[in-house]
Amino acid sequence: MSLINATPSITVTTDLIRLELNGTTVMLESDLSLSGLLVVNNIDVASVAIVVNDTVIPRSGWQHIQCQANDRINVFSAVAGG
């Protein structure tokens, strides 16, 4: 879906959570913010929208919202063509 073409990163630590990123199950560090999620996956923060559990999360909140176990996160590219 307007999905970012990124391969989810898998970091092996002792404190991991399982969630769904763009339809793929991934393991991520438990203290990762939404901004951190983009950085880890080399996604341009200024070019996407993030949907968590079917709700758009405004960009101003990305630094403050942490990924939670079992979250369903979709990252959509901004499109403006017509």
Binding site: M1, D44, A46, V51, R59, S60, S77, V79, G81, G82
Partner: protein, 275 residues
């Protein structure tokens, strides 16, 4: 218009067979006024659907000319139209096909500067518009249109597509509760958003444009006939996998574009409760 002629009954019978639309909905469609900004792939198709459905007053806004690369997806333009202003060609063509509709055409690009320079004219043209369709091809125009819709408390139906990715949503700025819940275009894509690819760079298939345009027209007709129940929902379409995804849009509490309305709504709500 309060009633339909016999010919109109026949012409719009399939629409009116939908129980929730009926004759009242068809009359509402025929009494409506819409603005379509951007007369490219999306805008042309939206206009075709609306005019065919019975919308009698359409405002076209665009400053582009027809180019040869437009022809595969902008279906009403022909090779002889190349180099001519899109709004001029569109107005001429629609007037020929639908002799009983009124089309207003503005050959202008909506920017902060052009809006300031033509504020009275633009305000008067949007005053009685029921729906604004954003069919433009760039982010700055989309922000300007969003701001206009917020300020004038209009219905904004925004469609966009590039490559295989399409997005469409309807925001109701006339309903402040809806604004508080769903925000505005700026809440979704702030001003500093970077568009990595557009149609010029990434390409697009005509039918994929048609899917998004159809959704915009569908939302518009449902809003006008009071049968739309999904405001503030972002619909994302993947034209490769043919999958749709939906998400509830959210207001950004730091958004300066829809903030005044938000505060106003809270105040009104508080006053209502107090009284």
């Amino acid at each position: 218009m309060k009633s339909l002629t016999d010919r109109e009954y026949q012409q719009y019978s399939r629409t009116m067979l939908l129980n929730d639309i009926g004759e009242a909905g068809q009359i509402a469609i025929m009494n409506s006024q819409v603005a379509i900004i951007g007369m490219g792939g999306l805008g042309l198709l939206v206009a075709q659907y609306l005019a065919a459905a019975g919308v009698k007053h359409l405002l076209f806004i665009d400053n582009d000319v027809v180019e040869i690369s437009n022809l595969p997806r902008q279906l009403l333009y022909t090779p002889t139209d190349i180099g001519k202003p899109k709004v001029t060609v569109a107005k001429r063509t629609f007037s020929r096909i639908h002799s009983d509709i009124h089309i207003d055409a503005m050959n202008i690009k909506l920017t902060d500067d052009t809006i300031k320079a033509n504020l009275q004219l633009i305000t008067s043209k949007l005053a009685d518009v029921d729906v604004v369709f954003d069919c433009t091809d760039n982010l700055p125009s989309r922000h300007v249109i969003n701001q206009l819709c917020v300020q004038h408390q209009l219905i904004l139906i925004s469609g966009a597509i590039s490559g295989y990715q399409g997005q469409v949503f309807c925001l109701n700025f006339a309903d402040q509760t809806s604004v508080i819940l769903s925000g505005c275009y700026h809440c979704l894509y702030p001003s500093h958003t970077h568009i990595e690819q557009n149609c010029t760079q990434q390409g697009v298939l005509g039918p994929a444009v048609g899917v998004i345009a159809s959704m915009q027209a569908l939302m518009g007709l449902q809003h006008i006939s009071s049968t739309l129940n999904q405001y503030g929902v972002l619909h994302c379409f993947n034209a490769k996998s043919f999958l749709w995804q939906q998400a509830q849009m959210s207001r950004d509490h730091q958004c300066h574009v829809c903030k005044p309305m938000h505060i106003s709504a809270q105040d009104q709500g508080a006053e209502y409760v107090t009284n």
